[in-house]
């Protein structure tokens, strides 16, 4: 009797501790997610009470007829590949430089981090201003062709503008993580490698980089997640233009739902996005798991 009472008490305590968080998470994610699965198979304009069931019509249309979604998917994929590679390479390079014995290293680290504390929408507007007025003024001043190009108005160039601004905003974030990783590498291991005759290139590839793998894993993961989500900077910098040249998947989903009022159709797209993100995450975790070295 006593143990049953005890068990019930423990269960009540357990529930009291976890229910507030569970309710919040179930509200924010699980209920909308389940609703998503339902609406993905319907035609729904967001207002009508009972959506019309239409089977797999939405998915068929997305995969067969929706050129905009295809273009957005291609944009997001290209953006993701460029962003992940470039932001990691640049921030690792910057981290190595800032890890040297510099007098101003704290101020420098802070300087490169500053754009990261600004909201991405605001960063987009700052650079819209730069591309509109700054590059014109620089073009008049220097007569260089780089500044006379239409960085936001050209279908080909606007991709690189979005990429550049995203990297400018976030490079400091990844640099901070890489610096912490570099500092956690014990000095004696590097010295031992030097004594064994390793040059600086070999030392970096064979010692520093493998020891840095936990940071690389984190940074790849973060950059992957943020490239799939890219939205804010596009809205403010290019408005997905010119035409829809810089529309990402998330932007396409947003306009499909909130501009075109095709809510059911848009939820089908979100479901596809979810499946893709899940697959990428699983692959990523598998791929990096056996590359890390234990110290």
């Amino acid at each position: 009797m006593n143990t049953i009472g005890n068990r019930r008490y423990n269960l009540l305590v357990f529930l009291a501790f976890i229910i507030p968080a569970s309710v919040a998470i179930v509200y924010a994610f699980y209920v909308p997610f389940i609703m998503n699965i339902y609406y993905a198979f319907t035609q729904w304009n967001g207002i009508q009470k009972v959506p019309t069931f239409n089977g797999i019509d939405n998915f068929r249309e997305i995969l067969r007829e929706d050129d905009r979604f295809g273009a957005a998917a291609l944009f997001t994929f290209r953006y993701g590949v460029f962003y992940i590679v470039l932001v990691n390479a640049l921030s690792l390079f910057l981290a190595i430089l800032l890890d040297q014995n510099l007098k101003t290293k704290n101020a420098l680290r802070a300087a490169f981090y500053i754009p990261n504390i600004l909201s991405l929408v605001i960063v987009g507007f700052i650079w819209k201003f730069m591309f509109m007025f700054g590059s014109d003024a620089l073009g008049d001043l220097t007569k260089w062709r780089v500044f006379q190009l239409s960085w936001l108005g050209d279908r080909f160039l606007s991709f690189y503008s979005v990429l550049f601004v995203s990297i400018w905003q976030s490079v400091g974030f990844y640099t901070v993580i890489y610096i912490a990783g570099l500092q956690s590498i014990p000095n004696d291991i590097l010295e031992a490698a030097t004594i064994d005759g390793a040059g600086s290139a070999i030392r970096f590839l064979r010692v520093t980089l493998p020891m840095l793998m936990p940071s690389v894993t984190s940074c790849f993961f973060f950059s992957l997640i943020s490239s799939v989500r890219v939205f804010d900077v596009i809205v403010s910098l290019t408005g997905a233009g010119p035409g829809r040249a810089t529309a990402s998947v998330t932007f396409d989903i947003y306009t499909e739902a909130f501009t075109n009022n095709r809510y059911g159709y848009a939820t089908a797209k979100t479901l596809l996005l979810f499946v893709v993100v899940l697959i990428i995450s699983i692959v990523q975790v598998r791929a990096f798991k056996n590359r890390e070295v234990e110290v």
């Binding site: 501790f17 919040a24 040297q100 802070a110 500053i114 504390i117 201003f129 901070v176 936990p214």
Partner: protein
């Protein structure tokens, strides 16, 4: 102490110059926010001839700055406080209870971390309308609890594992309720993790755009600063002098926050990333 080589000095000079170029857009925006439009067009790189303070007074009143600043503050404070409260309790109990169910619940709690918000935003808006949480500043703040809790629970869970069980168990044996034992004994030991989560979540919620955009953009009085700047650019897209003054007003709190909390932010980012 090794002597600093010439190469190192050169590197330092180059890096400082690069940092100035890197931050130049922000500096340029601040300078130009004080000029009339004609001067922005003709003398972009020079200092203002005459201070056009009316840029700021216009931006200040048009976006109703004090009101929106307060909105941001309420959303951030209520959001972050709630995330800390619900997550610390849940992570503690989930970490201390070693059963299959407890582990499953933990995994279910942290899974949403990797899922982009955009995958659920459409039906979330419908749900928020049904629960009367949309179009309200407090309603928006409360919704951040569920979005912030997965990461916070993940970080807390990992840290609580390293705290010896004997600490809270002996307090309970001495007659403290589990609630008091947690608050008095364990929670104070979580100070460093708590500050990491607070620092990261403040930056995230203060700057967030998409969730406020779908939840509170309907009325001028419920907007956040980012939303106000966004609609300001839409409305006044020819009056750049007002728009960039609004931009500087929106950026200012973030920069101030960074300068004051720099040490904690860097520590928080590192701690959060290494655990994540």
């Amino acid at each position: 102490m090794r002597r600093r080589s010439a190469g190192l000095v050169l590197l330092e000079v180059l890096l400082v110059l690069f940092a100035l170029v890197f931050l130049y857009p922000i500096i340029l925006i601040c300078i130009n926010s004080l000029k009339p439009f004609s001067e922005i067009m003709t003398r972009l790189f020079s200092l203002p001839r005459k201070l056009a303070l009316e840029n700021y007074s216009t931006a200040w009143t048009v976006i109703n700055y004090p009101r929106l600043f307060l909105n941001n503050l309420v959303i951030t404070v209520v959001g972050v406080a709630g995330i800390i409260a619900v997550s610390a309790f849940a992570a503690y109990k989930l970490s201390r209870t070693k059963t299959k169910y407890s582990w499953t619940i933990f995994i279910l709690c942290i899974t949403p971390m990797i899922i982009p918000f955009q995958t659920t935003m459409i039906t979330l808006l419908k749900l928020a309308k049904m629960m009367s949480l949309s179009d309200s500043v407090l309603g928006l703040a409360v919704q951040y609890w569920g979005f912030g809790a997965p990461f916070a629970i993940f970080i807390y869970h990992g840290f609580i594992k390293t705290i010896p069980r004997e600490l809270d168990e002996s307090a309970i044996v001495d007659g403290a309720t589990p609630f008091v034992a947690f608050l008095r004994i364990i929670f104070p030991l979580l100070k460093s993790v708590t500050s990491t989560i607070i620092v990261l979540d403040i930056m995230w919620i203060w700057n967030d755009f998409l969730l406020p955009l779908i939840m509170v953009n309907g009325s001028k009085s419920t907007r956040t600063l980012s939303l106000a700047v966004y609609s300001f650019f839409g409305q006044y897209n020819t009056n750049w002098q007002f728009a960039i003054a609004a931009l500087v007003l929106a950026v200012f709190p973030s920069i101030l926050y960074f300068l004051l909390m720099q040490k904690y932010i860097v520590k928080g980012v590192t701690a959060g990333a290494v655990k994540g």
